[in-house]
Amino acid sequence: MALNILVVDDSSVMRSIVIKTLKMTGLPLGEIWEGSNGAEGLRILQEQWIDLAIVDIHMPVMDGEEMINHLRENEQYQNLPVIVVSSESDPSKIEMMHRKGATFIHKPFKPETLKEVMIAVTGVSNEYTD
């Protein structure tokens, strides 16, 4: 199964870093969609089939925490795998993300780390590409 992935970050550079790292994981990727804040991310989710959301925390308009709250309140997205990629240092905030079912990856991160987490949260396998 190729994963359709939504990358939400207000920094276009950071979105590029995440997408480049995604391609280095060797996992089967489908479409990759980009949003610059939580509201844009939610809009894309309504229009596209997304298997995994990779989300920043600190963003204007709607931050990552609020976006995840909306996802978990909506039956359709309650179980959507979410990975939070951030330089957040506040342990309580990170713990709160975990409680909402999101997996936290601290920046900087290696492709291997992202791959491990993606496999864990989506169950995707890279058997096809090996």
Binding site: S11, S12, V13, M14, S16, I17, K20, H58, S86, S87, E88, S89, D90, H106, K107, P108, F109, K110
Partner: protein, 168 residues
């Protein structure tokens, strides 16, 4: 403002600054340290500078300066572009500053709760000099790459929590 940081914390900050900077350049920019600094790299003029400010119990900033061909190399490697625009170069350097700052603030210890790291800002040479005169530089490192040199400094401007306690 109180900017007193004990020796243990200062050493921890410097160690974290070095480790997180190296791993950021390796994992994000795919750039690796050169074994030793060439003589001409010691004299390279300033190419670009960026700052990432943090706010919380502590306030301060991280300054990153590049020399040689670092600015172009960082943007090219991150964005997979042969000729990144000036804005893309500025954004890429800012993102590096932001990532490293996010890692270093953790080492401020039990009083180091940080509520926000502000969007990075690209600095002119004059602005850099002004920023270097504000606050206390608690750690600084120089990283030498095949593409050039990066000097990274971590500043503490003040300890807000202590100030609030003193005013109670």
């Amino acid at each position: 403002m109180n900017t007193q940081i004990d020796c243990d914390v200062r050493a921890k900050i410097e160690r974290t600054l070095y480790e997180s900077s190296v791993s950021t350049f390796e994992d994000t920019c795919f750039m690796y340290l050169a074994p030793e600094m060439e003589e001409e790299q010691k004299e390279l003029p300033l190419e670009a500078a960026s700052e990432a400010r943090y706010r919380g119990d502590w306030t301060g900033k991280l300054l990153i300066e590049t020399r040689g061909g670092m600015l172009e190399a960082i943007a090219s490697n991150i964005l997979s572009l042969d000729e990144p625009s000036l804005q893309q170069k500025k954004d890429a350097l800012g993102e590096i500053a932001n990532i490293i700052c996010g890692n270093v603030v953790i080492s401020l210890g039990r009083h180091g709760r940080v509520s926000k790291i502000e969007s990075p800002k690209f600095l002119s040479e004059e602005e850099l000099q002004t920023e270097e005169d504000i606050g206390s530089c608690v750690a600084g490192i120089t990283l030498n790459f095949f593409e050039g040199r990066a000097d990274i400094k971590f500043y503490v401007d003040g300890y807000i929590a202590a100030k609030e306690q003193n005013s109670d």
